[in-house]
């Protein structure tokens, strides 16, 4: 066993021990503790927990790599996944906190005074959360298999047991405090290699500044200019220019923002703080904690891309460094010498290109590429696991509370006792873990493709219903239900047709409606939701007076907890 592997075992086991310890210390004893951690979490803790909840394996492992290969086009993720918090903080979080219930379907069901609305919301929450959680379990499996040399299946099972333990035992309370710890682990793991590499390449310890700085080789050339030059030389688009159309960039960014603000596992975190002002503040803190990673990732992307091109392009295959061989063994890098010159041609032209690189490698192999000490490599594994586990746990809670609270307690069996509901919540959490684990081990081919679209689904379903519910007092139930159904079905249809190819042959890009990709289509589906909702609203019933009073009431921050009794 090499040094790096010993460190990996030590750091992963230590962090797992920490999570389990916290889970035992913070078990939930009531449904309120299980669903919303008793509603007494401090804004700082909630901010960290939200950040960990939000930043998944995709943010930690894949995002810098995606940007690395997409250049400017990768900005959609950076702006989309952070700008959504502005919407969340200004338009949703304070009012939902004032409303003061347990789940998003709770809000939809009460605000639109309708069991049907609640059931539609549960259905949307389940679709969004399941597509998302399967990807997380898969992420856990991949980290295990790459660093600890166990099968992906074994990795997924280990991950399932850990999550099962603290989600089922601790509910939201356990999840919140483990997420605080997980945030610390993942941000440390992300920043350490980034700072090291920034110093190596630009002499500046702050990656956000190093990215725009000059190279430390004394040439005085700016790093970004150099990378633009390297990219165009090899036939790629200049790094700081994109190749996507402005319309599509606009649409994707908006879908990701509205989707972020509409994701049930993020929204529900704001039910856990004490007062409305705490909800606002913790949204700000959450974005601050997220921004630390999100402003570093594009810097890592630039460093890694430059490093990669300089190391491999036009160089002899036999003289590649050790990390190249290590990752070649895992299949994440591969080289076919098409013109038999013994050198690596890495170019944009697919016919002449000899190198394929998996995007995840840009974060995973970064410490090795930069010759960092073995403990840093172990740190990356622990960080990736923290990111995947924290997000999985948050999603599982949404799934279990949707089933136990919204379906069983509110629709099927309203006379369920408090302890009965707590048990129902625990059993549904366990059931959800098992299903998620199953999808992690046997991923249906479409899971990976669909995870990115979970945002489109959230934007197309929840976002308009919640916004209208708060800002338009006269919005009625028929309109909201029609809007949600229209939005989510249109989005599902577009995905099925243009992403999954389930309806006839997969059409070429030229046939995209308005030139908008499936990733960006959530924006259109969201607009359709708004329009259908408002149109149907015009021709159907008036909103009951007492519901209008509820809306009046949630707009005023004082008197939390009395919003419903009024």
């Amino acid at each position: 066993m090499g040094d790096a592997q010993v460190w990996t075992y030590v750091l992963v086991l230590l962090s797992f021990g920490l999570y389990i310890g916290i889970a035992i210390w913070s078990r939930a004893s009531s449904t309120k503790e299980f669903y919303v951690a008793g509603g007494g979490v401090s804004p700082l803790a909630n901010g960290m927990a939200t950040a960990a909840d939000w930043m998944s394996a995709a943010s930690f492992i894949s995002m810098a790599g995606i940007i690395s290969f997409a250049g400017y086009d990768g900005s959609v993720y950076l702006m989309g996944w952070t700008g959504g918090y502005v919407l969340l903080a200004l338009l949703l979080a304070p009012y939902l906190r004032k409303f003061g219930k347990f789940t998003v379907p709770d809000f939809i069901g009460e605000r639109y005074y309708s069991k049907t609305a609640r059931i539609v919301a549960v259905f949307c929450a389940l679709i969004v959360s399941f597509t998302y959680v399967a990807g997380q379990m898969r992420g856990v499996g991949i980290v295990f298999s790459r660093y600890l040399e166990v099968d992906i299946e074994t990795g997924v099972v280990i991950g399932m047991v850990i999550v099962l333990f603290y989600a089922v035992l601790g509910g939201m309370k356990g999840i919140t405090y483990t997420q605080v710890a997980q945030y610390c682990v993942l941000i440390f793991a992300f920043m350490v290699p980034a700072i090291f590499i920034s110093i190596q390449m630009t002499g500046n310890p702050v990656p956000q500044l190093g990215m725009g700085g000059t190279l430390s080789d004394g040439s005085g050339t700016y790093l970004l200019d150099k990378l633009d030059g390297l990219s165009t030389e090899l036939g790629f688009a200049a790094y700081t220019d994109g190749s996507k159309s402005i319309t599509d960039v606009f649409a994707i960014t908006f879908a990701l923002m509205a989707g972020t603000a509409g994701l049930p596992h993020v929204i529900v975190r704001f039910f856990t703080v004490k007062r409305v002002r705490d909800a606002r503040k913790s949204a700000g803190l959450a974005l601050l904690f997220i921004a630390i990673l999100y402003t570093t990732a594009p810097a890592v992307a630039v460093f890694a891309r430059t490093n990669l091109i300089e190391t491999v392009s036009g160089k002899e295959y036999d003289k590649m460094p050790q990390w190249f061989k290590n990752w070649e063994a895992t299949g994440l890098i591969s080289h076919t010498d098409k013109n038999d010159d013994g050198k690596i041609q890495y170019v944009a032209d697919a016919k002449a290109n000899e190198l394929t690189v998996d995007r995840d490698i840009m974060v995973l192999a970064n410490p090795e590429i930069a010759n960092l000490p073995a403990w840093v490599i172990g740190l990356i594994a622990a960080g990736g696991l923290a990111a995947a586990l924290s997000t999985a746990a948050g999603l599982l809670l949404v799934i279990s509370s949707s089933v136990s609270h919204d379906l069983i307690k509110n629709v099927i069996k309203p006379d369920l006792t408090e302890s009965g509901e707590l048990w129902a919540a625990r059993i549904s959490a366990a059931g959800a873990v098992v299903i998620a684990g199953y999808f992690g081990i046997n991923p249906p081919g479409f899971v990976a493709a669909v995870v990115a679209l979970a945002f489109g689904l959230a934007a197309a379903s929840f976002f308009p219903a919640i916004i209208l519910g708060i800002f338009y007092k006269k919005m009625n139930s028929s309109g909201a239900i029609a809007g949600m159904l229209a939005g989510i079905s249109l989005m599902l249809f577009y995905m099925a047709k243009f992403k999954l190819g389930w309806i006839g042959e997969l059409p070429p890009k030229e046939e995209w409606w308005f030139g908008i990709s499936p990733e960006g289509f959530g924006t259109i589906a969201m607009l359709v939701n708004f329009m259908v909702a408002l149109l149907v609203n015009r021709f159907t019933e008036d909103v009951p007076k007492e519901v209008q009073d509820i809306v009046e009431n949630i707009r005023i921050p004082s008197g939390v907890g009395q919003a419903i009794e009024h």
Partner: protein
């Protein structure tokens, strides 16, 4: 709700909406404006190694987002106090 209370709450709501439209205007300008629609034009300006449009898209917009939320928190806390909706 009696009339006096009603009046107070709708005045509060109006001020809140005014803040929202200003802050969301800035939110839109830095991301969709500077980072996307006017990216190419701004790219002719360079700050250090960064082209300005590119910087907004990958760095600047995010910093402004964080600041916007904290400004909102401050404004609303003051507004709550003004209308007596604060609770401690």
């Amino acid at each position: 709700m009696d009339l006096e209370k009603q009046k107070k709450s709708s005045a509060y709501w109006k001020e809140n909406l005014k803040y929202l439209s200003i802050l969301l205007g800035i939110w839109f300008a830095v991301s969709y404006g500077a980072g996307i629609l006017f990216k190419d034009a701004l790219d002719s300006i360079k700050i250090g190694g960064f082209k300005l449009g590119f910087w907004f898209a990958q760095q600047g917009a995010i910093y402004v987002f964080v600041i916007l939320i904290f400004v909102y928190v401050r404004l609303m806390n003051k507004l709550d106090e003004k209308y007596g909706y604060n609770e401690d």
